[in-house]
């Protein structure tokens, strides 16, 4: 599964980064790399069955404490 994720992300990188690099659109290029890295990391963690905390839980805690629901 991890290998599949790595292959998919390498293909995505080639598909996305090469045209941006050739056109010299540096802002798009670097923002894309940042998102790619974040997405790749989460993808690998999910493939390794790592349990990730939900970002929604703190929001729920705050609202529950404020409105008592």
């Amino acid at each position: 599964m991890v290998i599949l994720v790595i292959i998919c992300y390498i293909s995505l990188a080639i598909y996305e980064f090469v045209p941006l690099y050739n056109k010299k659109q540096w802002k798009d290029f670097w923002v894309n790399i940042a998102f790619w890295s974040a997405s790749f990391t989460i993808g690998i963690l999910l493939a390794l069955n790592v349990k990730m905390p939900s970002p929604v839980s703190p929001i729920k805690e705050v609202i529950t404490s404020l409105f008592g629901r």
Partner: protein, 365 residues
């Protein structure tokens, strides 16, 4: 850069499908059981003044999208902070809808398939649609809207024999306050979510269009939702509050002379179309916001990565369906209130003052 434009009809269709979105399958106001239809009407009525504010914002600054408007209203620094908040809202909303779809498919048809597969499939289609652009999304919605309206109408007619109008009674048995609260819930989900359409309606052709498009789109979706809620109550009665997907359950009971049965797949089809439109619009607005925040050349370059993040986010957002239902019924309305009412009202007031001052000084904003 090429400026995307949609006509009023495409705008109305997009908005109608967006509002029908996941509320069609999760149902609205189910906490008040057989008064849910009153809650739906109250939610729609509550939304009307807010809708005028949304339309006014767009009419004051035609051709500007939500993120341009925020920057004009608050300047660069505060503008960027609010832009970031709305990117989060659009991203989060898209993830919630993908998750609703995943839970629905997992519960009713494919319990043994890992949910990530379902989420990836819907997400990929949405990424493709957003990469194609707003005009394509608008055209797709005009093709789908007759089917999406026709299916509930036909199913409604077929469901008449199962209909028990006594299920609607007693009306307001627990008083008006719980219904009003459920009405507020309906206001927040799905009607006021349409604020993020300010990230789409900059592409409308004429200045008067936002009023017409907002009103027609929301009214169409609102009427469909009210009628579907009445149908669900008529068939399910007080069971309504205990089911995760009331529309699916209601339609699964329809049987015409034991000849026409199992027509709930039609509901699933309508849900797929509406969820696809809603997720696509959310992804589009989130990508537009990010491209504005970083001054990118084209939002299309980040659609795949943002789409993948949205899918992963939707996967980790809830542990189970109970948590999803709790969030939708109890938490979401309070969480969304600043995005749907507080910020829009402030933005409207600031823009109104700035435009008036600009007119006096003959300045263009």
């Amino acid at each position: 850069m090429y400026k995307e434009q949609i006509n009023d009809k495409e705008g109305i269709c997009l908005l109608t499908l967006f509002v029908m979105g996941s509320s069609l399958i999760i149902g609205v106001g189910s906490s008040v059981k057989n008064d849910a239809w009153i809650a739906a009407i109250i939610g729609l009525l509550m939304f009307l003044p807010v809708m005028l504010i949304y339309s006014r914002i767009q009419a004051l600054l035609p051709g500007k999208n939500l993120f341009d408007i925020v920057n004009i209203a608050f300047g660069r620094i505060i503008g960027k902070i609010i832009t970031l908040l709305y990117i989060w809202y659009a991203f989060h909303l898209g993830a919630l809808v993908i998750r609703n779809f995943g839970e629905f498919v997992n519960t009713v048809s494919m319990p043994e398939t890992p949910m990530i597969v379902t989420l990836l499939f819907l997400g990929t289609v949405c990424v493709y649609a957003v990469r194609m652009g707003l005009e394509v999304m608008g055209r797709i919605s005009t093709y789908f809207i007759p089917i999406v309206i026709l299916i509930p109408v036909v199913v409604y007619i077929l469901a008449i024999p199962q209909f028990n109008l006594c299920n609607l009674k007693p009306i307001l048995s627990e008083g008006f306050t719980p219904v009003l609260e459920a009405g507020f819930s309906v206001f927040a989900f799905p009607f006021a979510e349409s604020f993020i359409f300010l990230g789409v309606f900059f592409s409308l052709k004429t200045k008067k269009s936002p009023y017409k498009v907002y009103f027609t789109g929301v009214m169409m979706a609102g009427i469909v939702l009210v009628f579907l809620t009445i149908r669900n109550i008529g068939i399910l009665g007080n069971l309504l509050g205990h089911l995760n997907f009331p529309s699916h359950n209601a339609v699964s009971r329809v049987s015409v002379s034991e000849f026409l049965q199992r027509i709930e797949v039609s509901v699933a089809f309508v849900f797929v179309v509406c969820a696809f439109t809603k997720v696509s619009v959310c992804l589009y607005v989130a990508c537009k916001g990010i491209s504005k925040l970083f001054n990118l050349n084209d939002y299309r370059s980040i659609v795949i990565q943002v789409g993948l993040l949205m899918i992963f986010f939707s996967y980790i957002i809830y542990q189970n369906i109970m948590e999803m239902t709790y969030w939708a019924n109890n938490v979401y309305k309070y969480y969304a209130f600043p995005f749907q009412v507080v910020f829009p009202v402030i933005i409207w007031l600031v823009i109104e003052i700035k435009v008036k001052k600009g007119r006096k000084g003959n300045k263009r904003i």
